[in-house]
């Protein structure tokens, strides 16, 4: 089998006493769109800078195309980076910025002639839909245009891997969504691997085929957006990806010896959901807000609900495509419920209404950490 494009093998990086990256191992394949997702300070940016060569690992190795990158400076790695600040050279025109990498006779990149460089810059300008703007200065561009120039410049040397550090953070919401799709299209067209670093779960979920959720220097969970959302391995991942209800419950056995979970706030119990080996243990169960059914009439709840309890609506937010409520359950806990506006809703729910909530056992994820 061909080696992975990137193989990170037990890499650790310390800054003073803080452990920024803690024994991380990871493989990224050719043509993959990969996301490093996590809150600030989780080590995702450091990991990316280690791949680019701006930091040196304290231990462990990084292989690109099977070649150990130890001692290889950034200018000789087949990797390019799009900086969060875009880092466009303010004293150069757009065309000179994009052509910068082509004018450096680099490792494995043959020195191009003047006309070849001009042709390549024109192609790149077309790729990012900036034809005719090559003569502008970065300061004369809008935020979105700067982002495109930064992308074109980073792609100029035909890297095997493009690292993107929070590529959409500086854009406003509307533009961010458009740019997301453009990035995905460019990635598909060129077949280059993209590694995006972001703290925005929506961004990561929308674009990446695989996502590594990072927490204090380690990878907490690695998987597709669906894996992370539907089967989080920990409370941290469950909270970080989307909205979630977390209930602290106790695993016990019923009188008949069958395993069951017992929750005190809100008050409910449920049989037959979990691993029989677990007993007498405190765990957490996670339920997504859209999996919780709500009705003013208990008998109107779907029959499949294995768990039901009652409460009072304390907040309600209308978000257009969805509506979100917070319900104070009789046991004391706050429960989030959401429903999409299909237009077919018969019941309306307002602040102060008493409601019955229910969900079935397939909606419950048992989390032990």
């Amino acid at each position: 089998m061909a080696p992975s494009l990137i193989r990170i093998d037990g890499v650790t990086k310390r800054f003073g006493t803080t452990l920024a990256v803690d024994n991380v191992s990871l493989e990224i394949q050719t043509g993959e769109f990969f996301a490093l997702l996590g809150p600030s300070g989780c080590g995702k940016t450091t990991l990316m800078r280690l791949i680019a060569g701006f930091e040196t690992p304290d231990s462990g190795s990084i292989f690109i195309d099977g070649v150990d990158m130890a001692g290889v400076p950034p200018n000789r790695r087949p990797v390019n980076m799009m900086f969060q600040s875009y880092a466009l050279f303010p004293h150069m025109s757009v065309a000179r910025n994009i052509g910068f990498g082509l004018r450096q006779a680099g490792h494995g990149v043959p020195g191009l002639g003047k006309t070849d460089i001009e042709a390549r810059v024109r192609d790149l300008l077309r790729l990012v839909q900036m034809e005719g703007l090559g003569g502008r200065r970065p300061e004369q561009l809008s935020g979105g245009q700067r982002q495109r120039v930064a992308l074109a410049r980073a792609l100029a040397r035909r890297p095997r891997l493009l690292l993107l550090d929070e590529p959409l953070a500086a854009l406003d919401r509307k533009l961010r969504e458009e740019t997301q799709f453009e990035l995905m299209q460019v990635q598909r067209e060129l077949g280059v691997s993209f590694v995006i670093v972001t703290h925005d779960q929506d961004e990561a979920m929308a674009m990446a085929q695989r996502i590594a959720v990072m927490r204090s220097g380690t990878i907490e969970q690695l998987g597709s957006a669906r894996d992370l959302y539907e089967a989080p391995v920990s409370k941290f991942v469950a909270r970080f990806i989307g909205d979630i209800n977390l209930f602290d419950v106790r695993m016990t056995r019923g009188a008949d010896g069958e395993p069951m979970i017992v929750s005190t706030a809100p008050q409910f119990s449920c049989r037959g959901i979990a691993d029989t080996t677990m007993s007498g243990e405190d765990v957490t169960i996670a339920v997504r807000p859209e999996r919780v059914k709500m009705s003013k009439d208990k008998s109107a709840l779907p029959a499949v609900c294995d768990v039901t309890f009652a409460g009072e609506i304390v907040d309600s937010a209308y978000l257009g495509d969805t509506q979100v409520w917070r319900i104070k359950a009789d046991g004391g806990a706050l429960v989030r419920v959401s429903a999409s506006n299909s237009g077919a809703g018969t019941e309306t729910f307002e602040r102060g209404h008493r409601v019955h909530l229910g969900f079935d056992r397939s909606a419950m994820q048992v989390l032990t950490r």
Binding site: A52, P74, F89, F100, A105, V109, A154
Partner: protein
């Protein structure tokens, strides 16, 4: 943008004061003395007190004042052309100041660069060290260079005992000593603007250059240096302009053949007591210095306005 605040609309007293105070300062301490010097430069030397005429005195009436205006002439300026001493002094000053600027930049740029690239926690201490010489009197520091540079001074002593040279270097009382003295004296004025220009740069610019295939030195020549040129220009002017008119350093460290306009000016004023010629020398020097300043200003405004 939200609406304009009320302070943006009115021309209140606060705003007036903010503009008027520096303006008053400039008129009192720059424009008025400058006009006096121009007037003296247009007068003739005389054996009296003050040592020039005409002397205007409004108490003798307006007509007398106007009549005396006719006595002003450009003769002092023409006399600057009679003796090559003046032209040689100007050329000597410009030459030494220019050399000092080049030498100063060569010394200051690496210092400023290493300061800007030093760990952030060290930088305040490094800046304090760079300006520490200012805490001692300028005169004392220039005097100290005499004991370092003279034939039996510290430098020669050190080099001789290390065996680097076999005969003392004759530096003191030459143009070299003046050059060293000027570069040393104005070093902080060079370091600080350059440091500031490098420190202000987004550190990811150099990383971007490295990422795009540039070696560390290519990244410096193509990114760091061009972006620091405004600081280099500012520092160069801060050294060059006072260096042209420098008097203390050439007087203390220079030889009898060191021709600089500051010394010539001093001689005209105090040795020859020819105030009009001395004033003319000063005015011509000022005009000469305005040329690089005007060029710099034009360059600055050009880079400020958007290039569309």
């Amino acid at each position: 943008m939200s609406g304009q605040g009320p302070q943006d609309r009115g021309f209140g007293w606060g705003r007036f004061l903010i503009i008027a105070m520096p303006l008053a300062w400039l008129v009192l301490f720059f424009a008025a003395p400058f006009l006096f010097v121009i007037k003296i430069s247009l007068s003739q030397a005389a054996q009296q007190r003050p040592p020039y005429e005409p002397v205007f005195d409004l108490s003798q009436g307006w007509d007398a004042f106007v009549a005396r205006l006719g006595e002003l002439s450009l003769s002092s300026y023409w006399s600057l052309l009679d003796d090559t001493l003046y032209i040689d002094s100007y050329i000597g000053s410009l030459k030494l100041a220019g050399l000092a600027t080049i030498l100063g930049l060569v010394v200051a740029y690496p210092l400023a660069l290493s300061m800007a690239r030093a760990p952030r926690a060290w930088r305040p201490a490094l800046i304090a060290l760079a300006i520490a010489p200012f805490w001692t009197s300028f005169l004392i520091r220039v005097y100290a260079w005499i004991t370092i540079l003279k034939d039996e001074g510290l430098l020669n002593h050190a080099l001789l005992s290390l065996g680097v040279i076999s005969e003392p270097l004759h530096i003191f009382a030459t143009d070299w000593a003046v050059l060293i003295g000027i570069v040393y004296s104005y070093m902080p004025f060079l370091i600080l603007p350059i440091y500031n220009a490098i420190d202000r740069q987004d550190p990811s610019l150099v990383e971007a250059a490295r990422d795009l295939g540039a070696t560390a030195s290519q990244a410096f020549w193509k990114v760091t240096l061009p972006l620091s040129l405004p600081g280099v220009m500012a520092g160069a002017l801060l050294l060059f302009i006072p260096a042209v008119g420098e008097f203390v350093v050439p007087d203390l460290l220079g030889g009898s053949d060191t021709l600089m306009i500051g010394r010539t000016l001093w001689n005209e004023f105090f040795a020859n007591r020819d105030w009009p010629v001395a004033s003319a020398v000063a005015i011509v020097m000022l005009v000469l210095l305005l040329i690089p300043l005007a060029l710099y200003e034009r360059n600055e405004t050009k880079s400020m306005e958007p290039r569309r």
